[in-house]
Structures are given as structure tokens and as C-alpha cells.
Symmetry: C2
Subunit: 233 residues, 2 copies
DNA sequence: CAGTGGTCTAGACCACGGT
DNA sequence: CCGTGGTCTAGACCACTGT
């Protein structure tokens, strides 16, 4: 029998993954403990630990103290989406970025937004509507409500110079957030801004962020028909 | 000056994150190297390394040998989406799962599918169309092409008993895949299956998977209007 | 209670990549 | 060249949890 002597946690991880793929260890199976694996692979337990921890984070293994390490029943891989600043998203496509402010006014947000942020109707927020452009063409429509109590300084911004998106990312680190992806039919206003037909299918991304317990902002980005968000598995 | 003596990599990570949030270390700044931090925090360099590695994976830091560790300019957080088997997705909502096979036949996939899989027109694939149900109501429409050369055994499956989705996940681990999210207007056939109006905005998820260099399957899942994919940041 | 993973340590060597 | 992160090691103790 071969005793390859795998040093380096990557090699150990590769070998374990190979055994899983080869079905030496089938989904649901208990695999040997760290000490035994270290002996077999000819390396320190720390190294095996690093490898197994990595595979567990990647979703291939499930580990529990005392219970041991099992091959995950369904390799539920996590798709990781990068959520960049729109400017960078546009420039990464090799296009020129611009943005246009459509509206900016104080007001009471609709119930859906209030409940997302956990605010009552008495709290006025700043409503900002803008259009992001790539090479002059509509790229995304932004509908945003900002809590100016949590974010002092925002009210004084000249949003024609700098997008709310960019300023907030640079200046207000959030501690918690929620992201919702969906499809929605274009309303008349959004359709006009994006230059598409009313009722067209828009890819929609809603994000709510908090700083500790205080809401920062709720924002909905609507992308014109055909927009795709791609990620590797 | 306080010298808290932080043992445990979590505590070190928390402290570093706190300094970033507090702007002690601003975006783009170089932070002290591991040896110095270990000295300051009163722990081993290994512990600091673990903490910084964690923060780098989470997107807060950028690390390069010799160049040192910098606070990331834009805290581009990665949203991680769980992509489960649909059955589990449905049952997690407390609903009863069912599926119905709509079509199953061999044929040549459309150009878009062929190019995604990197196949020429001479290779016939198996085309499977099915509907996933939650408590009897349409939950998702599935349009799938399977390469039966890469996946022997699939052709013999009784797809009325078991969904293609479930079988593939259990039996054909993929090594690489692509996930595309978008919105699309419902075609007549999809609209009828989902019980919505033609042209309605559908949330659409396309996935292509390979086993090494061989394509396994291309699948498009269409969710009825109102469907949302939610994740924490 | 006892087995298993989780973590810390102190020290060492290595690999990359600015200067 | 040489500073910085990347990793390995051997050993130790701890924390959780199944039996």
C-alpha cells in the first residue's frame, strides 16, 4: 500500500476530497479522526485539522466534537456573490461610469421599507432616486431611503457629485445587512428611467444595512432586462 | 495604556475589526505586521495569523507577502447563497414537496445551451422538463439538458419517482460549475406550468456543471412572481 | 466519563515579491 | 536582498457532547 506522506494541508485536503469524489467515503460516512489521518498521511494533526476545517467551510464535511467528521449528505455549495460598488461594477466591464440624481427629498417611506428597517412612521428619512449609467446607457435604477440620524453628514452631501452608494460604502461601515434577490415587473417610472417597456422583467437587488442596532439605509437596485449576475461554484 | 492580553484568535479578530470600524486603521492603511501585533496583543504569532487570515477571507483585509496587510479599500462583502436541493428548499418552508415530469426526450439543445456546455450540435442530450410543487402549488419550473455520456445511469432513471435534481446531486459530484441569476419574462409554456400570466417577471437561476472537463448538465429554474432569495451579509 | 474536534504555543523554515 | 506572510511541527490543554 502506498503511504504518500502528504505534507502541506492542501495536499491533505486534495486527498480527502479525492476520496470523497471516488466514493471511498460516501455521503453520510464517518471518516477517520484527525489523529489517525495524521498518522496515515504522515503529518502533524494540526495540518490535518487545517485541511478538514477548510473542507468543512467549503461544505464538503460536517464536523462535531465527539461525534467526529462526516461527509456532507448534500454538497450544498455556497455561491459567493461579490457585491461591489456600482461604479466598479461598471468600470470592470470596461465602460465609462456616470450617475444622475433623479430625486432627493425628505419623507415617510412606504410601509414595506419601514418594516424592513424596523422604524415607525414618525421617523422621516431621506429619499434618493438615481440612475447609474454605463457608457451613457442606463445600467441600474436606484431607489434608496437613508436614515440621516444614524448617518449624520449624509444630508449635507452633494449627490450630483458623488453617488450615495459610493459615499456610504466609504464612510459608513455596516455591521449587519440583508440582501434580497428577486425579479419584478418594471413600474412606469422605473421603466422610463431604464428605457424599457413598463412591465418588463427587471432583475432586482434589495439591500438593508444596519450599524449595530441603528438602520443605515434600504436600497433597491433594478437592472434592465437581460442583466445577469454570474458566479463560479 | 491598556494591554488587554488577547488570547484566542476570535478576540484578536474582534479587536482588529473594532479598530477598522473605529477608523484607527482607515481603508488603505498598512497595519502592523504579525510579529508586532502578537507582541502587542500578548499572544503567539500563529494566533494573530489565524485572526488576520480570517478577516482577509471575510474581505476586510488584503494581505500580500512582503507588502504587508492593508485594510481593504471597499469592504466588498461576499454574499453567500445556499443552493440547496429544491426538495429541501421546499420542506424548509414547512411545505409538502412534490414534482411532476412534463417532458423527457432526446434531442439537440438550442445554441445557447450548447455553447454554455461547450458542445457541438452532433451530441444529442437528454431534455427534461419538470415542475416542482410546494403544497400542491407550483414552486419552480425546471428546464434541463443532461449529457448522458458523462452521466451513465441517468438514462435508465424513472424520473417520475425521483427528480433529476435529487439524483444528480446524490450521485454525480461536480468539480466545477457556473451559476447565473437573472430575471426573465415568462414564456407561454412556462407561464402555463407556473400558473402565471405570460410575460410575468420570473426570477431565474441557471446552473451549468462539469465533472473535470466533461459537461454534466445545464439547468434553468424559473420561480413564479414574488419569489425571493434572501441572504445575510 | 471519555473521545473528538478546537485552539494555543514557541520555534522553525519556506516562498513570494518589493526595493 | 531581506521583510512579510504562509505553513508545518510537536505537544499541550480545553470544550463540547455522545454514551
Amino acid at each position: 500500500m502506498t503511504a504518500p506522506v502528504l505534507t502541506s494541508w492542501q495536499a491533505v485536503a486534495d486527498e480527502v476530497l479525492a476520496r470523497i469524489r471516488r466514493r471511498d467515503w460516501a455521503p453520510g460516512d464517518l471518516i477517520p479522526n484527525e489523529v489517525d489521518l495524521a498518522g496515515e498521511m504522515g503529518c502533524a494533526r494540526t495540518t490535518v485539522n487545517r485541511a478538514l476545517r477548510h473542507l468543512a467551510e467549503a461544505g464538503y464535511l460536517e464536523r462535531r466534537r465527539k461525534a467526529g467528521t462526516r461527509v456532507a449528505l448534500n454538497p450544498v455549495r455556497r455561491a459567493t456573490l461579490r457585491i461591489p460598488v456600482i461604479r466598479e461594477e461598471v468600470e470592470a466591464r470596461g465602460a465609462r461610469y456616470d450617475h444622475a440624481l433623479i430625486r432627493r427629498e425628505e419623507g415617510t417611506p412606504p410601509l414595506a421599507v419601514r418594516s424592513h428597517l424596523g422604524l415607525g412612521p414618525e421617523r422621516p428619512l431621506l429619499h434618493v432616486v438615481a440612475l447609474h449609467l454605463a457608457d451613457g446607457a442606463p445600467y441600474a435604477h436606484e431607489d434608496r431611503w437613508v436614515d440621516t440620524e444614524t448617518v449624520p453628514g449624509f444630508a449635507a452631501l452633494d449627490l450630483t457629485q458623488q453617488s450615495a452608494n459610493a459615499w456610504l460604502v466609504q464612510n459608513v461601515p455596516y455591521t449587519r445587512g440583508t440582501l434580497t434577490l428577486s425579479a419584478a415587473a418594471a413600474g412606469p417610472e422605473t421603466a422610463q428611467a431604464l428605457g424599457c417597456a413598463p412591465g418588463a422583467a427587471l432583475f432586482t437587488l434589495e439591500r438593508t444595512t444596519w450599524k449595530e442596532a441603528h438602520p443605515i439605509t434600504w436600497v433597491r437596485l433594478s437592472y434592465p432586462p437581460g442583466h445577469r449576475l454570474v458566479t463560479e461554484l
